[in-house]
């Protein structure tokens, strides 16, 4: 081979591949990946028995009564949590956003506060609140409110910054102050996107509220946790089915709502018709109903004076003490070493889980005949990671591999659906041209179709990794290794100073992964 006929990119590709190996190998080690265990006859028997126990699903009247109550509770937690999140997000988003300001000065204090709210997973908040307010839905509502409040605020702020700023600037020059300038200059442009994102988040909140039940925050999750702990497969199956129905229904409903936002307003003075009026009314009613169903005393929160008796003061004092117990965090070298190992393990779970999911998702996205595969993908993604983790822990034993597998199963469902969409939207001409030149279908895909879809596939995978690092951090709650296991352990032992170090580590890890993912996205463009 002559000198000029050498690929100049080969060197950097080789180095890249080696670097990948050098990074991935220890991560796979840390995740304790042992595919063999999956097919170990003993384990297969255990999981076979367990899954066989799922049949037939429990249909006793008494249990169905519990189930209905828990389903309502889950919906109520999600709705009340979103209402709280909205209350937090509007002022925080207003403060954090540069929109409508004369100079685009961002508010760094609010921004960092939002990062903390978002960076700590809702499950961790729930775990802490359960300790303050006792078992029950109040902890779930508060946890959802804080995390989702942080997320909504950040996205609201960004949406307002992304629309055309000229109308708001013109209003301000005419003497309007900032709230009015935003209301009349920016909100009309951004309202659809704002509403659409809020509805989408509500859908996520339903999933999240199920998961929080696992730490005792009420609803379907709590019921599921109990059923799993008592190895009652029939009940678990019914709960899982109810959950899937709920997720599909929420999916459909939120899709319908978002499409409804696309229809142009009617041609009359008031842009609101029977549909928006009805929806608004339903919204108010469902929020009020949610709070009263959960028996979270709105009144006791709102009425001051006589309610401020010694009991309330006592409660406030004990909460204060509880919170103070988290400071200062334990920074002893010994503990830091343990947390460091937890960080590494959590990172490993997230990376291995995401990679396995990417491969499985791609394979499931490829077949032409979609129906059975769409069903499989939907099933995979409607079962939350924590539920998968209880099952994979049976299959491969407690530890990080169970966590990685659980993450992979759920994420494969999510990514598979997104991949299929992206491949569908990729330009067909290049692949078709190669087939017409005699290329076998597989290679026409690899050379013609895949390069067109690759940027989107990569972006989806990296975004999902950012979400998975947060999830990997809490899978340990059910014994799947990583930081979650440490946190769960320390909190049960009331070692709050140690727990606080772990929470800080989770926060830093999720921030670091966000940065790494953004960098990778840029580098792979």
């Amino acid at each position: 081979m002559s000198r000029i006929d050498r690929d100049p990119a080969a060197r950097s590709r080789l180095i890249g591949a080696l670097a990948m190996l050098v990074i991935l190998w220890p991560l796979f080690q840390a995740a304790e990946v042992k595919p063999g265990v999956l097919f170990d006859p003993g384990n297969l028997k255990v999981i076979g028995n367990f899954l066989a126990g799922f049949l037939p699903p429990e249909t006793g009247n008494e249990f169905l009564g519990y189930l209905a109550k828990a389903t309502l509770e889950t919906l109520a937690i999600a709705t009340a949590g979103m209402a709280l999140a909205f209350l937090i997000a509007v002022p925080m988003g207003y403060l954090a956003s540069g929109a409508g300001r004369e100079k685009a000065t961002l508010n760094p204090v609010t921004r960092s506060l939002l990062t903390i709210l978002r960076g700590i997973p809702e499950l961790v908040w729930a775990l802490i609140f359960v300790r303050v307010f006792g078992l029950g839905p109040a902890a779930g509502v508060l946890a959802l409110g804080l995390t989702y409040g942080g997320m909504l605020a950040k996205v609201y702020a960004e949406i307002l910054e992304s629309v055309d700023a000229a109308p708001a600037r013109a209003l301000r020059h005419n003497g309007a102050d900032r709230p009015l300038a935003i209301l009349y200059g920016l909100i009309p442009q951004a309202s659809k996107e704002l509403a659409s994102y809020t509805v989408y988040r509500w859908e996520c909140a339903i999933r999240a509220s199920v998961v929080m039940g696992f730490v005792g925050a009420g609803g379907l999750g709590q019921l599921m946790d109990q059923a799993m702990k008592m190895l009652n497969g029939g009940e678990a199956a019914t709960i899982l089915l109810a959950f899937m129905v709920l997720v599909f229904a929420a999916d459909g409903f939120s899709g319908w709502l978002r499409r409804a936002l696309d229809t142009p307003p009617a041609n009359r003075a008031s842009p609101f018709g029977w549909r928006s009026g009805g929806l608004g009314l339903a919204l108010v009613v469902s929020i009020v109903a949610s709070f009263s169903y959960l028996e979270i005393g709105l009144k006791s929160l709102l009425t001051l004076g006589p309610a401020f008796d010694s009991v309330v003061v006592e409660a406030a004092r004990s909460i204060g003490e509880f919170v103070a117990g988290f400071f200062p965090p334990d920074l002893s070298a010994e503990w830091l070493a343990k947390v460091g190992k937890g960080i590494w393990e959590t990172l490993a779970i997230s990376v291995v889980g995401t990679l396995l999911a990417a491969v499985a998702g791609l394979l499931l996205a490829l077949p032409k005949w979609r129906a059975p595969f769409s069903f499989l993908l939907n099933t995979l993604r409607s079962v939350p990671e924590l539920v998968w983790a209880t099952i994979t822990a049976l299959a491969v034993g407690l530890g990080p591999f169970a966590g990685a597998l659980a993450l992979a199963l759920h994420t494969a469902g999510v990514l598979g659906r997104l991949y299929a969409e992206a491949l569908d939207n990729a330009p067909p001409a290049p692949g078709q041209a190669l087939r017409l030149a005699g290329a076998p279908g597989g290679f026409a895909f690899l050379y013609g179709t895949l390069p067109g879809a690759a940027p989107q596939l990569i972006a989806y995978t990296l975004y999902r990794w950012e979400m998975n690092i947060r999830m990997a951090a809490i899978l340990g709650f059910v014994g799947a290794g990583g930081l979650g296991q440490l946190l769960y352990f320390e909190l049960s032992l009331f070692h709050h100073a140690q727990a606080s170090t772990v929470i800080i580590a989770m926060l830093l890890l999720s921030i670091a992964v966000d940065q790494a993912s953004a960098w990778l996205r840029r580098a792979m463009r």
Binding site: S2, R6, A10, A433, A437, P451, G452
Partner: protein, 275 residues
Amino acid sequence: MSFRLNGVGLTHANGFVALKGVMLQAEKGERIALIGPSGAGKTSLLSVLGTALAPTEGLAEVLDFDQNFWLTAEVKKLRTHIGSIHQSPPIPGRQRVVTAVLAGKLGQWPAWKSLASLVYPLDIAGARAALERVDLADKLFARCDQLSGGQLQRVGIARVLYQQPELILADEPVSALDPTLALATIRLLIAEAEARGATLVASLHAVDLAIGNFSRIVGVKAGHIAFDLPASEVTVPLLHDLYASEGDELPVQAHEPHFLSQAAANEAATRAACC
């Protein structure tokens, strides 16, 4: 015989009749230009020859395969011998030029070679040789989204040169190129076909480009063959009749063809053809 269409008709899925009763035959090594107003059926005719669409009527034989084979595994073998040049080059933007050119032989390579070439292009010299002929050797390792439209079109042509097909089908291959480059490219295709004894069928928008370079001209109008004559026998009234639906002006490359700088075109043609 290179191909033979016997009473070929093509009705699209929506019921539109794009071709009817087409009789057309070509010997190996012939060079044919298809001309006709837009919507006449030139692309449809090339699609049938390229096995992209099966005729809904009549019999189509291409390189000794008749269309009864077109749904079987045989068609893959046939297709490796057909090279198509498209109006807009069907190449993914993120692909490197070298990979895009090598993809021309995916149908001929064993699977291991196709797979390995995704990681390391296995025939860099071959790709370079093909690119040299379209004057793009310096872009061998560039990414396709860094090329201009004309350069990308030439990459598509280089891919077909690399494929070395027996039948070259070109659908308005030069309508995105400037006149000088268009002439050079047509000459390159003709030289390639001549050198390898391949058959060339090209649809062209510009009448002057067709008549000046091709020995046989086929006029297509409303889904049938209006005339099929040696270039020397194509008359101006015949052309006006063919393009009646498009007004009095005949579509040409440059508005005054004889003002086209022949020297510049020749130079570009030699530059693109040799080296």
